[in-house]
Amino acid sequence: MPNNNWIRFLRNYGPIPTNDNMYDETIQRALTRLKIAPIELPAPHLDWLVDNFRSEGCLSIILTGTAGDGKTYHCRRVWLGLGGTIEDWNGGAKIQRLALGARQLVVVKDLSELRADESKPLIEQMAWDVANPAAPRVYLLAANHGQLLEKLKSAGTDKTTTALVEVVENLLVTGRSGNDAIKLDLKDLSRSAAVVMIDQVIDAVTQHPGWKGCLDCPALNEAHCPIRENRERLIGTNDVGLFRSRLGSLVEASEQNGGHFTIRQALSLVTNIILGHPDAKDGLMSCNDVASLAAAGTGELASPYRNVFGGNLKRSRAERTEPFRKLHLFGIGSETSNKVDNMLVYGADDPALLATYSALVQADPIYGETPTYKRAQQAYLEGDDPSAATRFLTLLQGQRQRLFFTIGEELAENLDLWDLTVFRYAGLYLETARALAEKRPLPRQVMPMLIRGLNRVFTGMLIQNQDELVLASAGSQSQSRTSPLLEEFVSVARRGGEEVSLVGDNQGGMQLVVKLSRDDPPPISLQLSTTRFEFLGRVAEGALPSSFSLECHEDFLAFKARLLSAVERRRVLDGDDRATDIVLKFIDLNLDGRASSRSVTVRI
């Protein structure tokens, strides 16, 4: 019987009910028992942390993040990095102490483990110490957001503690401490760059020495093994890393929408991609399952492309479980695209589509044109069997998911790759974000599209202007749907201090920045998430599905309100003479759909 300990171990990282590998502590025990090398996970803040604690004027640090971001892991690595021993660490004291030159480092790997009567004196002591540059103690504290706040707020109400709580809250919410006298910094691990992280997790799992165990597998050369197949595909030797880079794109787009992936979720995702199969126990294959699944002829259900979305799990479960819940939001599989669907349905018989079909579907006999798929396709086209349609449409979903990860860059534009997702402009969004990060010119269509979308939201009219921002108002509330009065045109290209531009935010996202003058009023900016970008794209295109709630609309109206008050301020600075007649500028639509203004004077 083939059996690789490593795969048994890996399986525990997947979305299984017990989820034994949730905690750093349990993992350490399992590793020793099974004699497996640990998975070397990315610890992006490790060097920085160790350097900090070695330096003379070091800061106390609070590590926070969502459960599964690797807080304990970081603490342990820092402990070892500063000369602590693994034995002491495994001793399991809730508060660990380490001599650090003349000072003492106090490490609490999980604040929530402390009872109130333990945490209260600790926090109060810490509040004193961080306020005192010559304090004999520095701290490394880890806790997830909720516990951190709870513990802090249940500590004392004296002045020093309150100051500490305030600084922590500021750091959490705004990222700025607001009080330089407090020697404290906070690292929110949930704000690490996700794409890099997911790539490292893929490497850590797929390149793990444990895979060597497969070489001893009795079935190594006999049968096709979906586990090894999926691993190969994820490594990306045959597709130049296309699969993993698309996966990275999805993760990135999700992060820019506030859908954060923790390290633990990334591990769970990667494990599921490799081991997922709906007929296996808990939806995850072990070595023993491979032969029986092959015998049942359901090997193709192990498709890693379905597994990305938890297709191997029960639907209700996948919808509730992270990270699949976040990935579900993209609607990949259920979103349809005419071009792709035509190819998938008629490709085999239509000469015009055949070339694409054979490259994208026939070329993959394992998860693409399998015998099952071919039969279902034929039955559907012949239309004799009413149940055939349902069966085929289900398979179609899996194929759309597969294609999202396998359509090469050269075909992506032609087949409108991102039409396979809810976010049709996400591709453009990511491309733009990358261009901004690398200081390359932006894709040509981006600014005109965004400006046209904004103008339509701002005026409530289907106008075409894309070289200038049309700031319109309703005179009364800024929430009005239509705004018939022109307040100002703002040039997009830099002119007289005015400019509208996109600026990268150093975290893979972007902001739209509107400048009205060289210095005062200061520029007004708006973070463009994937959803907001999509909203503007759809509005610019002229159609907006109702699934985009009012949230974006409200956001943009609030943005407009800020722009309008900046315009007002500029007028005051320019010394507008308001004592004379009233001039109202009404927006007129020209024949070409561009807005122009018509002034109406009212004499007082």
Binding site: T64, H145, G146, Q477, L485
Partner: protein, 513 residues
């Protein structure tokens, strides 16, 4: 429970036939006056009192008497002027167009002695310009799509010149029929005047609304010409209690909204919404005080795609609150029978007449000199008053809770046959603006909503319901989670992780950004 004496000294012909609803809640809460119109009536009172140098301060309780503006020229131009489009489409020369229009107005303008609008000609370069300006003011009117009579339509309150009172304009002249300005704005005015922070509020309101005339206010003024005032003062406003926690709450809410870094025009819709909520609370709370019942709560369902336990509880909560004012009325009248006066009347020689006098003193009914013959004994008298009061209550005051709750987005029948508390996004946003100065932890926000307004959303607030076995903790924690999701999608909540989230005031955050 405090009930101030009814104001005397004036004969109000159209005044109430008996003084029951009014004694409990004031003169008066009226369902047909929407929260927006309450605000507009309030602003009219505030303007008049502010000119008299006594904004939001009462010299003596319930002696308010003010002179509202009528601005009938402006209203004819905006809402009684269906000639602009037809004339515009005839493509007449500018001169002919003006002449024709002036003639039409001369014949048809309502409620004006002098129907000469020719002063407008020199204010505009062309008839077309004039037409565009009127169109603009029409489009920004309050509840502009309503099919109310033209004299009950209102321009957006751009400033002092845009304020005027509701009126009935007929061939015989202009009269105040209190159809849509039914004095609820006066009640609101008295409430805010009696709030602890009345002075703070006054400075903000007067400063923001009246002392910095906006360009649109000047525009309205240019159309109206000289301000027109009503012919008489409007006395008779009445609010039964000299102080109430809800008055203070309302003033705090108003101040929070006005202190937000948004334009005062954008603040107005929030004021309207929170005023509606506090007035509903006031109505229920006064009823509760009379009945000596448990504190008012409103179980809110955050709309879920499927039927939930909370949905049923929210509907029950709505129903039980909805009948409260009716119960209060009966209780209030019948408690007259427990008084010493009533007992004395019963044992007097002419028990019926004495009892009628006792009732008349408290309720202004019946007229002891004209007792109808079927009122045979004091008990019947009491029953008759209860039944009359209930009939009258059901016409308007009894509908206040359900009508306003719907109008401010507190209640809904969405995907259900029963009305329930199910706050809309608009209301939620207003609540955030009122409760959250900068940021507040989500669970503290839930607590604030409960402590201030009695809203029950999360499991902590629903502890007594859960304890009584009517729901599981999970039902309410799911409800709270749905609120969290809703607030995220409204951009009002910043979730740091599953365990911690901050509700953020959107306007403050933007300023910081």
């Amino acid at each position: 429970m405090e009930i101030l004496p009814r104001p005397v000294g004036h004969e109000d012909r159209t005044g109430p036939a008996f003084w029951v609803d009014e004694a409990i809640w004031g003169h008066r809460l009226h369902d047909e006056q929407s929260p927006w119109l309450i605000l507009l009536e309030f602003l009219g009172v505030l303007r008049s009192e502010s000119l008299a140098g006594r904004a939001l301060s009462e010299v003596e309780f319930n002696k308010l008497s003010y002179r509202p503006q009528t601005q009938l020229r402006l209203r004819n131009l905006i809402f009684n002027n269906p000639y602009l489009l037809p004339i515009g489409s005839e493509r007449l020369s500018d001169d002919v167009a003006w002449t024709k229009w002036l003639e039409l107005m001369q014949q048809n303008a309502g409620g004006l002695e002098d129907r000469d609008f020719s002063y407008l000609r020199h204010r505009f370069d062309s008839f077309e310009d004039f037409s565009a300006v009127v169109g603009f003011l029409q489009s920004s009117a309050i509840e502009g799509t309503s099919n109310k009579r033209w004299s009950s339509k209102f321009v957006f309150p751009f400033g002092p010149n845009a304020l005027y009172e509701d009126a009935a304009v007929t061939a015989s002249g202009v009269s105040t029929d209190r159809r849509f300005f039914a004095r609820t704005g006066e009640v609101l005015y008295l409430m805010l005047a009696r709030a602890k922070r009345a002075a703070d509020l006054r400075d903000r309101l007067v400063g923001k609304l009246f002392e910095q005339p906006t360009v649109y206010d000047r525009l309205v003024s240019a159309l109206q010409g000289e301000t027109q005032l009503a012919e008489n003062d409007r006395p008779g406003a009445y609010l039964p209690c000299s102080a109430h926690p809800i008055f203070d709450q309302m003033a705090d809410d108003w101040i929070a909204i006005l202190d937000s870094p948004i334009s005062v025009f954008d603040a107005l819709p929030h004021l309207v919404t929170i005023t509606g909520l506090n007035l509903i609370r006031y109505q229920l709370e006064r009823a509760r005080e009379l009945l000596n019942a448990v504190p008012i709560t409103m179980v809110c369902e955050i709309v879920s795609p499927r039927k939930t336990v909370v949905r049923d509880l929210a509907a029950d909560s709505f129903q039980s609150n909805n009948v409260l004012p009716g119960l209060a009325i009966e209780h209030y009248i019948r408690s007259a029978a427990n008084t010493h006066d009533w007992q004395a009347a019963l044992s007097s020689d002419d028990a019926l007449l004495s009892a009628a006098e006792v009732l008349a003193r408290q309720f202004d009914w019946p007229d002891p000199d004209e007792l109808s013959s079927d009122l045979t004994n004091p008990g019947v008298l009491l029953d008759e008053l209860v039944s009359r009061a209930k009939v009258r209550h059901a016409q308007h005051v009894g509908k206040v809770h359900s009508t306003w709750a719907r109008q401010i987005g507190l209640s809904s029948r969405r995907s259900s046959r029963r009305v329930r508390y199910a706050p809309t996004d608009r209301l939620l946003k207003t609540l955030v603006v009122c409760c959250v100065t900068e940021r507040l932890e989500f669970k503290d926000f839930l607590r604030a909503l409960h402590d201030r307004y009695g809203l029950v959303i999360g499991d902590h607030q629903a502890a007594s319901i859960i304890g009584a076995g009517k729901a599981d903790q999970e039902d309410f924690s799911d409800n709270a989670r749905r609120l969290e999701e809703r607030l995220i999608s409204l951009g009002l909540l910043n979730r740091l992780s599953d365990s911690a989230a901050y509700v953020e005031n959107p306007f403050r955050r933007e300023v910081r950004a």
